[in-house]
Amino acid sequence: AQSVAQPEDQVNVAEGNPLTVKCTYSVSGNPYLFWYVQYPNRGLQFLLKYITGDNLVKGSYGFEAEFNKSQTSFHLKKPSALVSDSALYFCAVRLPLYAGNNRKLIWGLGTSLAVNP
């Protein structure tokens, strides 16, 4: 079955330290990969996406993500965490159209990031 895993329910990091939020996927073909962030009592906001090309993708708020095809991973990273980065982070995968798939995203369950001052 096609799936997305975020192996950590929670990540804690000190302000100023680098952060990583992990995402691995199990899908056939070459998927499109997305990261979203959800601040308390808000909807999700798009951070970045990987479609094709350079494996390192840069996005909003200083975040970046590295696509690794051999490890089927798409980890979210930031060199220096801020307290304001504390939020819920979701990884999502869309299957490519040539596979006959529809417009749905396959979502991870989310990782809660806490950045401590």
Binding site: G43, L44, G108
Partner: protein, 116 residues
Amino acid sequence: DVKVTQSSRYLVKRTGEKVFLECVQDMDHENMFWYRQDPGLGLRLIYFSYDVKMKEKGDIPEGYSVSREKKERFSLILESASTNQTSMYLCASSLGRRFRQNQPQHFGDGTRLSIL
């Protein structure tokens, strides 16, 4: 910026009531989605629509229906509300098929629905 507006932030209804959740987007997006979000379960897709009057079932459509009479508006209907439909409901929209489906979804701020 894309604006997705959900009509209510908080809503309290009673068991058995028919409940309408409204969503409007202002960017002429073809695709619109309804999700529910529950702790430990992430986002689950209820229904989506890729054109006016078109709809497709998501992963958990039971107990829900949708309506899309105009491109900018997508309504979620709880036919007879039950307590297990207490949840956060999120609406989203995205550009459609001519963009090869690699466009992100844009979300509203959600409606927290309580069924008593």
